[in-house]
Symmetry: C2
Subunit: 252 residues, 2 copies
DNA sequence: TAAAAACTGTGTCCGTTGGATACGGTGTAC
DNA sequence: GTACACCGTATCCAACGGACACAGTTTTTA
């Protein structure tokens, strides 16, 4: 199944189209957003593979085929669900510097992804971005507009941060502590294979210290923001001496 | 479809089990690895939703049900495909410092993910790691064992780097330049909506500079490694003064 | 050497899925 | 008022993952 790809034209119209004027015929009993919210509820509970057109229709008290009057197919429905589930970003805290804004931004989008575990799989393929998705992006770029970073670099920062948030939201499966499950599973696998994975065995030993308060989201975010801060500082220093904002990577 | 979850016990046996001694009955015509490689070829060409048991069986000249003698089901097949497609990591360049090693490591796993676009979707759900996946992890931890980072932090670095590589492998869809498609698509969407996305519009303006040689992988990787370097330096300075390796995040 | 046991690949069957299509009812514009 | 556009529904279909019983093949056991 998965009959063909997604209908980009209709999806774009659904994401960006205006409500439209008066129309003929009977009044629609549903809305695209209503359908999307029903799908979100199902996917939140049973994951993306538990989302069937039948179940969505049942939860709305309509027939399965009625949904196709609003949505071209299942793939487009998932795309619309994503746009609705991500929602609008909260307004930035006024007067905060770029680092505080990006820190806050990453944690917010992390929360959204964690609330909807299926969102990770839904964003696995290249897709048509919706208004909300662009609004989130706008916030990152706006936070960085004061720094010396170029436009392309600002977008790269957004890609970097959203990737980290999304990745960590997947690893943190809501139920227990962020790193606890991971380390426990690894410890079981490495046990008896210490000669094959010596460094891993050493790292998993309790004596390695620092496991308490381990939080992969905080750790990675702090590292990323540190790295961005270093670049911002370099740009600020270079701008006064007329240095062009060229390649600042450390590729050996 | 997607009949139930994956059979963790059989998958663990398939990933970690030994070849086993002599067995009764007719000799098997297939191998699990043969099946996995056939699946990889199909998924590489037509994506994960083009992967059906029927097609895998046809490409191996057997019946669909014959595959179930080797693999519990489709989900487990995908997991095995992932382990085979990722493969063993290349040996680290001898004598390289941790930064060079991690840089090299990230680019290598980025390449693997880019070669198999379906791998991103295959790693969307929490899974049972295989020997190869653990070997990749081992390399990161080994590279960092000389630094002052704790075991948990070393694992966090691995999560951070693999997340970035995987994320960028998705955005870079092999065909064209890494950031070109992205910016072109964004520009089209923002056009006519500059008042709604002002910062984004400014960032996408050609006058923003720096678009040339834009590479999101290089950019993010350099930022991450810069951030890790700062932590390593702080740990090295703190170790001589007896500072405990506590929280070094910058949460405001 | 004969028989039993274990394992293989195959054919048949089933429930569920996404989706196409044709139909009758319903509301608006001319 | 009437034609037309739109709605929800009922029916139908192909493709999918998988269960199950069966017949053939090889090794172990008696």
């Amino acid at each position: 199944m998965e009959h063909g790809g997604i209908d980009r034209r209709r999806l774009h119209e659904l994401l960006w189209g205006t409500p439209g004027g008066p129309r003929r015929g009977p009044r629609p009993t549903l809305t695209v957003e209503t359908i999307a919210r029903a799908g979100i509820a199902i996917a939140d509970a049973d994951g993306l593979e538990g989302l069937t057109m039948q179940r969505v229709a049942e939860s709305l008290d309509v027939t399965k085929m009625a949904l196709y009057r609003y949505v071209p197919g299942r793939a487009e429905l998932v795309a619309l669900m994503l746009e609705v589930a991500i929602g609008e970003p909260a307004p930035p805290p006024p007067g905060a510097d770029w680092r505080t804004q990006l820190d806050d931004w990453t944690r917010q989008i992390f929360d959204r992804f964690r609330r909807h575990p299926w969102a990770h799989a839904a964003t696995a393929a290249p897709r048509v971005p919706g208004p909300n998705e662009l609004a989130w992006l706008e916030r990152v770029v706006a936070a960085l507009s004061g720094t010396g970073l170029t436009g392309g670099e600002q977008l790269d920062v957004a890609v970097l941060l959203i990737g980290h948030a999304r990745n960590l939201a997947q690893h943190t499966t809501a139920d227990s502590a962020p790193g606890q499950d991971r380390e426990a599973a690894f410890t079981l696998l490495v046990r008896g294979r210490e000669e094959r994975y010596p460094a891993l065995a050493a790292a998993l030993r309790p004596a390695a210290g620092g496991e308490v308060d381990d939080n992969a989201l905080d750790f990675g975010l702090a590292r990323i923001l540190d790295g961005i801060a270093a670049l911002v500082a370099a740009r600020a220093a270079g701008a006064t001496s007329g240095l062009p904002p060229g390649n600042s990577g450390h590729r050996p």
